[in-house]
């Protein structure tokens, strides 16, 4: 989708087995099958192999994934959140404030955070970043949309016995339990000031070639972490100030 391409305006739609998709046969649906059992009896045999797949889904281990709190699931997905609960908008807003509050408090308790973040405002701002909110929404889901249960997930005991570890899988967030208030940190916060300086130096020298930035300046960071940091950094004051200086 770019004028960069040398192939621009030279394309053609090609016809042949090598280019078109193989169109699958129509499968009569599970539900229909039961309704129209007489008529479809033969058809079922015809499409035997497909039907078996469907049966396996229904009875196999995937079957139990089908439903989660009344929401129907296919075997192709993990449910992260759904709106079919009795919480009001305000309830959720309040819960998200709680999540930010816990994040702020967690940073006050955490040694490594609080040395990095001496300012209250900065801490509250870090605790209000999207990673905290996404994680909170995932916790709310794990708590079956019970605010009382969900807030307890925000302040789990040290051994995480009372914490839904699935939530970390579901959202890939970097959560640290201090045996109390829950801490979600993104790359913007994870990086030390020297690391941030190194990154900016690398950007000046190498531009956005993150493979080189990684190799030459920040080999202890993963590529993904560098990219996440880059995009967040572009929205930060540091970036604005660096641009101003130029």
């Amino acid at each position: 989708s770019t004028q960069l391409s040398l192939l621009a305006d030279k394309g053609a739609i090609r016809v042949g087995k090598k280019h078109q998709a193989v169109i699958p046969d129509l499968v009569t649906e599970e539900g229909d099958k039961k309704m129209e059992v007489d008529e479809d009896d033969e058809d079922m045999k015809e499409n035997g192999n497909l039907m078996i797949d469907e049966e396996a889904e229904e009875n196999g281990p995937a079957a139990k994934k089908r439903r989660n709190d009344g929401v129907q699931l296919t075997e192709r997905e993990t449910l992260i959140y759904h709106p079919y609960h009795s919480l009001s908008e305000r309830d959720i807003d309040q819960f998200l404030i709680m999540a930010r509050a816990v994040g702020t408090f967690a940073r006050a308790l955490d040694q490594s955070s609080s040395t990095k973040l001496p300012s209250l405002h900065m801490t509250a701002a870090y605790a209000s970043r999207d990673v905290t909110l996404f994680h909170a929404m995932a916790l709310l889901h794990q708590a079956n949309y019970d605010i009382g249960k969900a807030v307890k997930y925000l302040v789990p005991p040290a051994n995480k016995t009372q914490y839904p570890l699935e939530v970390d899988q579901a959202t890939n967030h970097n959560t640290i339990s201090l045996g109390g208030p829950l801490l979600c940190r993104d790359q913007m916060e994870e990086w030390s000031a020297p690391e941030a300086n190194l990154f900016e130096e690398a950007m000046e020298k190498l531009g956005k070639d993150f493979n080189d930035v990684h190799a030459d300046y920040l080999p202890w960071k993963s590529m993904r972490d560098i990219i996440e940091y880059y995009y967040m950094w572009k929205a930060s004051n540091r970036y604005a100030e660096m641009k101003k200086k130029k």
Partner: protein, 386 residues
């Protein structure tokens, strides 16, 4: 406490939090990060909480080869920035290199994109949602054995193949500024998928999508292309999109729709040359939604990423029948949206080179093609004879 009204449509939304960190390379206009920006706007607008939010299972090699050739997928799975030299020949053969560079995790990225669209399709097959959304998908240029236009695997084709298991007729609509060539080619000879693409045509990538390209074999008249010139605005776009799509819906009578919402057709796009605003672009979503046919929304192009995320956020709101404020909510990438920090964007003063006459004339030609469609579609929704 208010109970969620179930009167509104059920919208399933697919997202993987890894997607934003795939990076095509320095200077490359395609930025998966725009999908994350959209995601964060959905959260902070409070739209997230109205959705069924899913993380899709990544597509398997087998699933991807339900359309793509085994050798192409094997190549894609094995290629890495650090082993490029070993794959010189294949890279040329599969068109990987310039537009479609080898980047870290390229195959995984394809798995997420395809996984989302396949899951979105399966969701509709199971009748578990009215509209499913996968902004990670929409990579409409990928061919069976060839990367093209920043697209490596064609999630749309895979989704349509999944839909075809349970739907006799699937309609594909493409409002990316580029011709939806990959999807058109995949279904060029079948009458069970109709592809309709509105795109810039003439000295423009990918070069296909002429008015005269109408499909072949049993697929004749089942491909529809509306070639456009630079600078089309909301009003002109609406004036063609709605009549054409009304006729398509009536003639083809699909039981499901896939809408590719490529956002490079927006004004100010880094690679595009149209003059649509969110309202004109989103009106296509609203209009198709009005037919009450199950629909998949996928992403696609879009290279001015602040506008892409605005657009897909807005279109998610349209799907949800929810009004959202023009004031953008604070989020991790808020500074990207300066200096105005508003949702909606203004059109530019560029010339609309699509005259009313041209549009009218083209529309008439398309209607003529549509009239060639059988009144009763070739395969009916009726018990299959012994």
């Amino acid at each position: 406490m208010s109970v969620q009204t179930h009167g509104k449509k059920r919208i399933s939304y697919y997202y993987d939090s890894d997607v934003g960190n795939y990076y095509y390379g320095q200077g490359h206009p395609m930025k998966p990060h725009r999908i994350r920006m959209t995601h964060n706007l959905l959260l902070n607008y409070g739209l997230y909480r109205k959705l069924e939010v899913f993380r899709p299972i990544p597509a398997t090699f087998e699933e991807m080869t339900s359309y793509h050739s085994d050798d192409y997928m094997m190549f894609l799975k094995n290629i890495r920035p650090d082993n490029i030299t070993e794959y010189n020949k294949q890279m040329q053969r599969f068109n990987v290199g310039e537009d479609c560079p080898v980047f870290d995790g390229v195959f995984e990225f394809c798995q997420l994109s395809c996984g989302g669209s396949i899951a979105a399709a399966m969701k509709l097959n199971k009748k578990q949602a009215d509209i499913t959304v996968n902004w990670m998908g929409g990579l409409h240029h990928a061919k069976r054995s060839e990367a093209s236009g920043f697209c490596y695997s064609n999630d749309i084709v895979l989704a349509i193949l999944e839909l075809l298991k349970h739907h006799q007729r699937v309609l594909y609509v493409d409002i990316d500024i580029h011709h939806g060539d990959g999807v058109e080619e995949a279904f060029y000879t079948t009458d069970r998928v109709m592809t309709v693409s509105f795109h810039k045509y003439g000295e423009y990538f990918p070069g296909t999508g002429d008015l005269k390209d109408i499909g072949a074999g049993r697929g004749k008249y089942y491909s529809l292309n509306f070639p456009l010139r630079d600078g089309i605005d909301d009003e002109s776009y609406e004036s063609i999109f709605k009549p054409v799509m009304s006729q398509v819906m009536q003639s083809f009578q699909p039981s499901t729709i896939v809408l590719q919402c490529g956002a490079d057709s927006l004004t100010g796009d880094r690679l595009g040359c149209f003059n649509l605003t969110l309202k004109g672009h989103g009106e296509c979503v609203r209009f198709l939604k009005g037919f009450n046919v199950p629909m998949i929304l996928v992403g696609g192009g879009g290279y001015t990423i602040r506008n892409v995320s605005r657009c897909w956020t807005y279109e998610t709101a349209v799907a949800l029948d929810t009004d959202i404020a023009n004031e953008l909510p604070y989020n991790d990438y808020f500074e990207y949206f300066g200096p105005d920090f508003k949702l909606h964007i203004a059109p530019s003063n560029m010339t609309n080179q699509n005259t009313k006459e041209y549009l009218q004339r083209t529309m008439v030609r398309l209607f003529e093609n549509l009239r060639e469609l059988p009144h009763a579609p070739s395969v009916q929704m009726q018990p299959i004879p012994d």
